[in-house]
């Protein structure tokens, strides 16, 4: 087990930030950690990094108790903080080199690993440049290089793609996949649900200091009764159309717009055939139908009652 947390409790005064949380992360997985603001994600990560004292429970990383083997464990963990943690007045090389040195790399080996890390994030050609001249995406990539230069077994990435362009985001996500293919376990938190859906092999949804749902993307979607939504392209749908469709027993909700009709129904009880008949019977021309599958966002919303990006 890369991470094994048992009955973890962390309080800030009277507030319970982590509420008897247990969690296992196996080697080689990308674990997506989702949760609304204040759910306890950062506290959980800080606890795993030994940055905060907990009041109860036990954390084991690489099968070793964090409290006892902290110094030993540190060497195998890389951290990509949410906010950029780079020195703007050091070159890209110097930034990575500093942390290579702090993790005990020396001489030729250090030089090779620094260049390897820079090459991995696509910054080797800019190694002599200062980050103040970098774009947001390049800074994010440097932020990652500094965390992986010592080739850790576990990398914790706290929202590594915040505030960057789609191209840089894709580059970072691709690098996360490659790192994982190399056998590195990754804990990945993000506000971007689709990122987590796309890369995580296992996802934990956190709320009020607890993991309220845990599983693969598919397993999470199956956890609850979902609604499906059908979008029907109809020119100027009128109230009589809405009235008729609302009478279908499996329809939960309906809304009209200029040229669209959106209908929600319980998963597995599709009323599409009946709706198409009503539309054509009333003389409307149906130009298209699309059905949207439930996504992680809906899982999250259903489980926590909050949107992931409500901040």
């Amino acid at each position: 087990m890369t991470v094994q947390i048992q009955d973890l409790v962390k309080r800030y005064g009277e507030d319970l930030a982590i509420d008897h949380l247990s969690l296992k992360i196996v080697p080689g997985e990308i674990f997506g950690l989702l949760g609304p603001n204040g759910a306890g994600k950062t506290t959980l990560i800080n606890s795993m990094l030994g940055l905060t004292k907990v009041q109860g429970g036990e954390i084991q990383l690489f099968e070793k108790n964090l409290n006892i083997y902290y110094d030993q464990i540190k060497k195998d963990v890389g951290v990509v903080p949410q906010e950029l943690a780079i020195y703007e007045d050091l070159t890209a090389y110097e930034n990575v080199d500093l942390f290579a040195g702090l993790y005990g790399l020396k001489g030729k080996d250090k030089k090779e690993k620094v260049e390897e890390a820079l090459a991995f994030v696509g910054l080797l050609e800019r190694k002599k440049q200062f980050p103040k001249k970098f774009s947001g995406g390049m800074k994010r990539r440097l932020n990652i290089a500094m965390a992986i230069v010592h080739q850790p077994k576990l990398v914790i990435m706290d929202e590594p793609t915040v505030g960057i362009d789609p191209q840089s985001r894709n580059q970072i996500l691709e690098s996360v996949r490659i790192l994982n293919q190399r056998g590195i376990t990754i804990i990945y938190t993000s506000h971007y649900m689709e990122e987590v859906e796309g890369i995580a092999s296992n996802i934990g949804i956190m709320d009020k200091g607890r993991i309220i749902a845990l599983g693969t993307n598919k397993e999470l979607k199956e956890l609850i009764d979902f609604e499906e939504r059908g979008s029907f392209t109809v020119e100027k749908p009128g109230p009589e159309l809405q009235e008729a469709i609302e009478k279908i027993p499996t329809v939960n909700n309906i809304s009209l717009s200029e040229d669209h009709l959106s209908v929600w129904w319980k998963k597995g009880d599709s009323p599409i055939g009946e709706i198409v008949k009503i539309i054509t019977d009333q003389g409307y021309t149906l130009r298209g139908v699309t059905v949207k599958e439930p996504n992680l966002e809906q899982v999250f919303l259903t489980l926590t009652g909050k949107s992931l990006r409500d901040d």
């Binding site: 800080n46 540190k74 906010e83 500093l98 702090l102």
Partner: protein
């Protein structure tokens, strides 16, 4: 070495910071020349002179007479206002009551000692009101004793004429035999060794070179504190704390890096002012380096303490600004101060600037080695106390941070 990595990076970042370079090196050099030139008048005999000095001699021999003649020299009278007293105790009492700044005492055996070729000692007591004026008194007396002891010893050797000494390579003897060799030998060495000569006279540049060096080392607290604790206020904190380097090693590495830049600053200021401005830094620069290095240590300690104790970077900057200005002011860093108040003396004794300035002035103007050592020890004590408080409170802060 992990500590070396931190030190190297800290040093590099500080010397790459143009604003830091401007503040720590160019600004002091500029201020020294501006203040030293503009306020030169404060350092003339007219301004600094008339220093009240109690005087009592129990020596009735030629050495004592010669010294009294020396004190009556016109050039000496520009600086010292001699108050003759009738006893040793009365002299001490005048100093204690702050009626005179110093007390010069010639013991009974002064002439006898130097006529035997031994070292004649003139005792000086001062009230500890400032470092500058007693330095002048010390310097004047030293100018006499160095030449006088030698002269009397020479005179005691019946068959030795002064003219025979003219070719001697010794600095003291060539000083004695300087410009007045044809006339009264005593006059000649007095003239050569009083503050009248450029070599010995304190100038505004000399004064402000010392006080500005000291003040800007102290200003280094600001950037030093920033360098030392900046990571505590940034996301870098997470990265540093999760790296396998202990907090003590981390701060030690940071301190060494900051310390390196202080040394660079000290060397540039001292050598630039010595060679370009012609500032007197005394015969040996080592004690000055030692004091400056100790002051840097104090500055770093204060920087760490304030950085760890202050709730934010802004609060830290405000505390440092206030501290450095007050510390410089009470030490007489902006202009020489002679304030006789207990509160002022307490404040001044708490000022690291004061102890550093006192030490450096004693080096430059030939004060006692004891005072120099005392200054260094006081600076060391101040920094250790501050470091202990800073680290104790800092550990609590670090624990509460997350």
């Amino acid at each position: 070495m992990k500590l070396g990595n931190i030190a190297k990076v800290t040093f590099l970042r500080r010397i790459r910071d143009k604003q830091e370079l401007l503040t720590s090196i160019f600004l002091p050099l500029l201020l020294i020349i501006i203040l030293g030139t503009a306020l030169q008048g404060n350092f003339s005999a007219g301004q600094l002179g008339d220093i009240p000095v109690a005087y009592f001699s129990e020596d009735s021999g030629p050495g004592g007479e010669a010294f009294e003649d020396f004190l009556e020299e016109e050039e000496i009278e520009q600086w010292l206002r001699i108050v003759p007293v009738d006893s040793f105790d009365q002299g001490l009492a005048l100093v204690d009551q702050r009626e005179t700044l110093s007390f010069i005492y010639l013991p009974e055996d002064y002439s006898e000692s130097i006529s035997r070729g031994e070292k004649g000692t003139i005792e000086i007591r001062d009230a500890g009101l400032s470092e500058l004026l007693p330095s002048i008194v010390n310097n004047i007396v030293r100018s006499y004793t160095q030449g006088g002891n030698l002269m009397m010893a020479l005179l005691a050797m019946e068959d030795t004429s002064l003219n025979e000494m003219e070719g001697d390579s010794s600095d003291s003897i060539s000083g004695v035999m300087g410009e007045g060799a044809e006339g009264n030998p005593r006059d000649s060495f007095i003239t050569r060794n009083t503050l009248d000569g450029r070599e010995e006279q304190i100038t505004g540049l000399d004064y402000y070179a010392v006080t500005m060096l000291v003040m800007f080392i102290m200003w280094g607290i600001f950037s030093g504190a920033q360098s030392l604790t900046e990571d505590l206020f940034t996301p870098m904190k997470t990265r540093i704390y999760t790296a396998p380097i202990g907090k003590i090693n981390y701060f030690l590495g940071k301190s060494i890096g900051v310390f390196g830049t202080f040394i660079l600053q000290i060397l540039i200021i001292i050598f630039f002012t010595k060679w370009v401005y012609g500032v007197q830094w005394g015969e040996s620069l080592w004690p000055i380096f030692a004091i400056s290095v100790m002051l840097s240590f104090v500055a770093i300690s204060i920087g760490i303490a304030i950085g760890l104790l202050a709730p934010s970077e802004n609060a830290s900057a405000t505390i440092i600004n206030g501290f450095v200005v007050i510390s410089t002011f009470v030490a007489g860093g902006f202009f020489p101060l002679e304030i006789e108040s207990t509160l002022f003396r307490v404040l001044r004794n708490l000022s690291p600037n004061y102890h550093a300035q006192q030490g450096i002035f004693n080096v430059v103007y030939g004060g006692s080695g004891g005072v120099i050592g005392e200054s260094i020890l006081r600076l060391l004590a101040i920094s250790l106390v501050i470091l202990v408080i800073g680290f104790y409170q800092g550990r609590r802060k670090v624990r509460e941070d997350f």
